[in-house]
Symmetry: D2
């Protein structure tokens, strides 16, 4: 079975290194396991795949990794914070960040100079304003009515032209993007502003209906679900909770997080705890990698690109 | 100004200890500062006070601390995860937890025995079912229509009889409870179930309208806002974001969290970073205490009880 | 047995609050358990008690909490980093710290102004120089020869006059202080400097002999050991390792730490892991509280003062 | 200058990925910077290079990464915990670990079956016993006398035959290994046992003399020092402190750690804090990567292999 081995450094492709990690320990081993689980999940043609996005992944440069997963259909449903979608849209309209050193920066000066800081990134206020103007134009082109978040984002996607965009690629590849805390984002504020003059409404029960019915259908059809959780937060809870009514555990779950179990919150909770809730069961394959997503996620995606 | 002193242990009231912490270092000092900031905030009659709740605080026994704050009007608006409100309702209908040791527990056995595990607590599935039955009865008594989350919770509160309940006390004291990721909770699922047969709709834009207009009004009136963030997640972001349109920084913020700044996510972000966004300004009083809320929050509430 | 209860905030002594924590969850519950375990340990007249000190506890204002434990004989052997002992000595000769804000401070300016920074404390270089001069005078009064670290610190203690000093109180109460990484501290550097002109030698094997033989003796006499670990690092490992040769597990262990288990290091390792090594056994009472020591330790000491 | 870019996943060598990380954010960017700093440090022929080892890196499969660095002379002085050296020796005599799942394992059963657990690794007690027998034989071949830890390990290295061994390779390449908390390890216990019958003594002041004089000499010669810190603990403090007497800051420092700054301890302290102590200065190049070493270290070593 699984063996222990000293890792052998040399000039080698990323996937060769990741395969070796499987035989080491701690979070390196878990990273190796995570890629193996994802490989199995991708090969499983009966598996509908969720991707949870939290943390500032899109500003942090992970946009093309997500897009790649969409293009290759390694994901069917994205559940995201509003902020990541907001930044994907902002990049469609020219947003670029500037690196900074969080230990040296004076945030009052930044405020004056027109920068919002995201840890070690500066987002110019003016590109955010450009995004807002553009998003209002797009919203004005969308028919009045009541929308699920995934339907609204699909409509927005149709009007985007950035081939690297998560929202655009999702629309083109029929991948749904659900944002459960929609009002909790700049995008949510923009749609709310639009709703002050036009009859645009968000009904998140439509998102909920979709995932609950999907799980009921999959259960009937003997199909299954898999999950990649980047971060924790609402996307994690929403994806895990989505199987409760169908009482159909997820078959595959990998979680990349820097939160910790021992403070009792859900973001850091072990997937073993999810066994008691029936969100996974004893046949599920799952692992948690405690690592900054900006390091682990590119390794995972690059390794899988080599495997497929 | 501020001095350094060795803390002197002895038989003493909690507040006396907390006052000494101010002169030590690390998170003890910050805890002392947090209570001082809250004292000032409570004394400021022109300040509208937000409380953000994330993490499993209600199951963890912190319910009466929240209720105490409501009764004393130390809070005007609560922004919470759905899970905390779900558990407050469950306790109204008899939910009690059983302590467990997460290092020894077998989650598959728990599943069989009918327990959901929350780190070191067991929540019996049957009391959750009791809650669901009761909440459906309550929802059936509520007029059909479209609700903000705070209005729906106010209606639910009217039908509760548990004098310790957060939702009940909020209703009685005119404290609003906003749940931005409403669908992301068992309560959300229950309202969704109800909505399958009755015309009950949630419109979170109403919640957003309320907080945006509140901030615009407060700015006009020369009033201000203060914030207590327990945990991070959506409640933190929602409260901080609520001032953006009015461009009126929060005057007081304390944050108790176990998340960390150096992974770049918002839950762990420093409040200094919020300066660049205009969510606080140079005259704001703020501090972050890195500590399990279950330890820091009772110390804070007990100290404040002694001070007022 | 153990029940769950919502904590009731009110004006109350510290110990009353801590007793309630026992019935809550997460690290609050563990803090309650830790004090109960320490109460039992202190009452156990057959128990020799270790205290491990790491992290900058003495600069952080925890000096009198340690001294109180020594005076009350709640500890028999202290195992410490050199830094904590260095700062105890520095305080004997007038060292005082100045509070600072680590987010605003310019470390190059500090360097110029003569301050060493310890996170949010400033230690003036000149008081360190005063300490060094005084410690050389003390060392010059000590007979040449080879010393265990505890014997050398005992000799130093005899020459101190600060009634709040950990080293002084340890000497007066026959409490041994062992510093396994003695050379890794300013004190170590000072003794090394002294050793360049006088024949002063440190032999840590004498420290090791003492703890190994102590454990062998205790085993023969049917006596036992208990441990309080503040932080992790070398003091934790040294104390746990000390029982290996006698093959006599510690009976009581509490650990206060902010390190985490899931990165595989010993500082964050669970005490359950110590079962496999025989450092504790199934009859041992142990718990780990994940909390900044500056918050948890004063609560523990104050509660115990009320209990005894 | 430094730009921001979305990372582009594809089939590519490790170094190409790591070079892209430089333009992202959070700890990915820092990892990219760390490799660039190390590249510069390695090219700097006037730089003496320290490597600090803490955490269970050798059991975790990182042995050959360390060995590779020794062989390529990317390191001149290793400062390590005793445990890592103990396990390097144990592997010389056949120690192999078995992977385990820390969430499922029963540590009492392990104890009975003869396994010591290191998080998710099992170390058989019998291979540890084999190591102890062998190390006694080796020690008995070593001349009686007083040794620095690096000199003793050099003598041990001469008698090893495992070409993958850190201690062996260090001896062959004239790399010094210093273990400041020597008594705090199984190896320390074994040497202590040997010292009960033979006149083998450890004098850590000799280690201290070596590093202090080295820094004084380097200063005179206009040479410099660089540091790679894996973990924190005593190795970090010892290496940083070693420049104090010479008052000669380190020129390069990279630190890989999972500890955090905001609890005030040295392991997690920022390198910016070290500016105030003069351990680095404004011309020093330094960065801290918050990441499990088992993930970051192989990426660093593999990238550097491609660069040289």
């Amino acid at each position: 079975m699984k063996k222990w081995k000293n890792l052998k450094p040399k000039k080698q492709p990323i996937n060769d290194l990741v395969k070796q990690l499987r035989f080491t320990a701690f979070n390196a081993r878990r990273l190796g396991e995570a890629v193996d689980i994802m490989e199995e999940m991708i090969k499983d043609k009966k598996c509908v795949k969720f991707l949870g996005l939290s943390g500032a992944l899109i500003p942090a440069g992970m946009r093309l990794c997500v897009t790649e997963m969409i293009k290759r259909r390694w994901v069917d449903i994205i559940v995201s914070t509003g902020a990541n979608i907001t930044h994907d849209l902002a990049q469609c309209f020219g947003e670029k960040y500037e690196p900074t050193n969080p230990e040296k920066v004076d945030d009052l000066v930044l405020k004056r100079k027109g920068y919002n800081r995201i840890f070690d990134l500066l987002a110019p206020v003016e590109t955010m304003a450009t995004m807002e103007k553009n998003i209002q134009a797009i919203l004005n082109n969308i028919n009045e009515g009541e929308y699920s978040t995934f339907k609204l984002l699909n409509e927005i996607g149709k009007q985007l032209h950035d081939k690297h965009s998560v929202v655009k690629n999702a629309q083109q590849n029929n991948v749904k993007i659900i944002v459960p805390a929609f009002v909790d984002s700049i995008l949510g504020l923009q749609v709310w502003i639009n709703s002050q003059t036009r009859n645009i409404r968000i009904n998140e029960f439509k998102d909920l209906s979709y995932v609950v019915n999907l799980n009921l259908d999959l259960k009937k059809e003997g199909k299954t679900t898999g999950v990649i959780i980047l971060g924790g937060g609402v996307p994690k809870n929403f994806i895990l909770q989505s199987v409760l009514i169908a009482d159909k555990p997820h078959k595959y779950i990998i979680q990349i997080t820097t939160d910790t179990p021992h403070y009792g919150g859900l973001s850091g909770a072990t997937l073993k705890e999810a066994l008691s809730w029936g969100k996974v069961d004893e046949k599920s394959l799952f692992t948690t990698v405690y690592c900054d997503t900006t390091i682990a996620f590119p390794l995972i995606v690059n390794s899988l690109i080599e495997r497929f």
